[in-house]
């Protein structure tokens, strides 16, 4: 893992990618800082980081596009996958390298609150909370980028796909509000999910029985829920999408609340996508 980590960090800085990422992020966050804090003489730092979310969202694809797609494209995955490394070591090495670059950039932005603290009072704990939330959310974004990179064959599709996925996540809260909340819509949506799951299982195992069994089990669970606790279906669509709303959980951090469940949520989210990435690479070798 460390070998891959070192190699990735080095390649961020031997190609322009690392520098571009840092330069753009620092420039835009600097502009936000200047306009929101300095020019308005405000010590309220949260809005700066909140605005930075969108900038970061644009930059994650740059950070992750070549991680796995680049190896596949260059055929260097043959070296990695035929070496005694585990696939999980490769994925984790790449993930932590991207996270490290992100942390390094964030560390530089710590200058902003330091500048403010020289001229006025800032609430240090709140800012630390903000940063913690930003780090956790950013790491989750990176895990999505890594996953998209593992399913795309080249860097361009990887970048565009990551950007699309993140943009959707950014819009989830807004989309959620417009969704129907009736009982029937919830049942229909759950049905669609079960069917999708069946199809995925069928394609992953190429086994018609596995797909059917999952379908029957899913239908059974749906029926049980329907007869015992109908209310679960009300607004189910929105609730389901809400599970992917990374930004909503960030709000509690920016309000100065250190919410343990949010921390666990982010860590689980990253872990799930890293796991999917590993499975994806393994699967590609099987099919």
């Amino acid at each position: 893992m460390i070998a891959v980590f070192n190699k990735e960090i080095r390649s961020y800085f031997t190609s322009a990618i690392g520098f571009i990422f840092m330069a753009v992020f620092l420039l835009i966050s600097g502009i936000f800082f200047a306009f929101i804090n300095l020019l308005q003489a405000s010590s309220y730092f949260s809005p700066v980081l909140e605005n930075c979310i969108f900038v970061f969202l644009l930059l994650v694809p740059v950070l992750t596009m070549r991680t796995i797609a680049g190896e596949t494209h260059q055929k260097t995955d043959q070296l990695l996958l035929t070496s005694p490394l585990k696939v999980s070591d490769i994925v984790l090495g790449k993930y932590f390298a991207a996270v490290a670059l992100f942390l390094l950039t964030l560390l530089i932005t710590c200058i902003y609150p330091l500048i403010m603290s020289m001229y006025g009072n800032i609430s240090a704990l709140e800012i630390i909370g903000d940063y913690l939330g930003f780090i956790l959310m950013g790491s989750s974004f990176i895990s999505i980028g890594l996953f998209v990179s593992s399913i795309s064959g080249n860097q361009v599709t990887s970048a565009v796909g990551t950007f699309g996925a993140l943009l959707f996540i950014w819009l989830i809260d807004w989309v959620q509000q417009g969704l129907p909340t009736s009982l029937t819509s919830g049942v229909i949506f759950a049905g669609i999910l079960v069917i999708l799951l069946c199809i995925i299982i069928y394609y992953a195992t190429k086994n018609i029985y596995a797909g059917t069994i999952v379908g029957i089990a899913g239908a059974a669970v749906m029926a049980i829920v329907y007869f015992t606790k109908k209310t679960l279906y009300e607004g189910f669509t929105a609730k389901f999408l809400g599970w992917f709303s990374l930004l909503k959980r960030y709000e509690s951090f920016s309000m100065g609340i250190l919410d343990v469940s949010s921390i666990i949520y982010y860590i689980t989210f990253s872990a799930a996508f890293l796991f999917l990435t590993v499975r994806m690479i393994e699967k590609r070798r099987w099919s």
Binding site: A3, T14, Q74, Q78
Partner: protein, 315 residues
């Protein structure tokens, strides 16, 4: 050392490999021969664990690839068709990275790095970016990468492709040298290469092994008759008539004049019968001096063409 048992690879309905079976003994240099798309690279990718077989088993040194992939992968050095290089690294950085992922560490590391770079002769470019190096150097770095950590088995997929003739000879000599200490599987579609380097040859076509044996065995196996090329001074028609009178001669063909006052004649005799002495006596009796007599054994090219173009070949 390497056992490939009933390995089948399918992509959907498309069968790439169809129940391939073979073994490679320790210290052997095995050549894989076959037209493009025959399944050579797929077989190699399966042995090295890059992709998995749909069915079947691969064992290296008695260890199953699926059960202990890390252990098996440690024993194998692999040069894929396209050398897996990072263009943005220098040669030395790259080889150090390979050392890291192959877990070559401690005092052995520097020593083996130096040794590997000397073996493939890339020490003079170690400070340079791989991006700026020629194809020949890249191929050699690819080989260097494979032999780092001194694995027992080397798998080289078309190691001389895209090189100029001098480099090809250099790489071949290098492989011969490596063959003294390693078990090697080598693929190629260039026949002289395989016959020059390998002790045993497997010919693969359309996912199946169609012929197997040492280069000599193969040429014997497919020699249904023996041909001899003669260059004779004198009249062509007279010579042909004289030869036709000899026992066991199957056919005689006049090949035309290649040198002044001589004629080239191709004589085919029954399999396993040596007619050279009778030829000499008959010619000398008829006062037709022999300028040249050359047995025409089937080359690997002929065998290759036979087994890959005709589906039904007597074995």
């Amino acid at each position: 050392m390497i056992e490939v048992i009933d390995v089948t690879k399918r992509y959907g309905r498309h069968v790439i490999l169809d129940k391939i079976n073979f073994t490679v003994d320790k210290g052997e240099v095995l050549g894989f021969l076959g037209p493009n798309g025959a399944g050579k690279s797929t077989t190699m990718n399966i042995i090295t664990g890059y992709i998995s077989a749909t069915e079947g088993q691969v064992k290296v040194d008695g260890i199953d690839m699926l059960e202990h992939p890390e252990k098996v992968k440690k024993k194998i050095g692999y040069l894929p068709e396209i050398p897996p290089l990072y263009p943005e690294m220098t040669v030395e950085e790259y080889l150090r990275f390979v050392c890291d992922i192959k877990k070559v560490s401690g005092p052995k590391r520097e020593e083996s790095l130096k040794q590997v770079m000397d073996t493939v002769r890339i020490s003079d470019v170690k400070e340079r970016l791989i991006r700026n190096l020629s194809k020949g150097y890249r191929q050699r770095i690819g080989i260097a990468q494979a032999i780092i950590g001194d694995p027992e088995v080397l798998i080289l997929d078309e190691p001389t492709v895209g090189l100029d003739p001098n480099q090809i000879i250099e790489i071949r000599n290098l492989i011969k040298e490596l063959g003294k200490r390693h078990t090697i599987i080598l693929s190629s579609h260039i026949l002289p290469e395989v016959s020059a380097i390998c002790g045993r040859v497997l010919i693969i076509n359309k996912g199946q092994i169609v012929a197997e044996g040492s280069p000599e065995e193969l040429s014997q196996q497919f020699n249904y008759s023996s041909k001899i090329l003669l260059r004779i001074k004198g009249d062509g028609e007279e010579a042909v008539k004289t030869i036709q009178g000899i026992e066991n001669v199957v056919s005689v063909a006049n090949q035309g004049v290649k040198e002044d006052n001589t004629v080239d004649i191709l004589v085919e005799s029954k399999k396993g019968v040596d007619i050279r002495e009778q030829l000499f006596n008959a010619m000398s009796f008829a006062n037709l001096p022999i300028y040249m007599m050359k047995p025409m054994n089937l080359t690997l090219e002929d065998i290759f063409a036979q087994v890959t173009t005709h589906e039904e070949v007597e074995k």
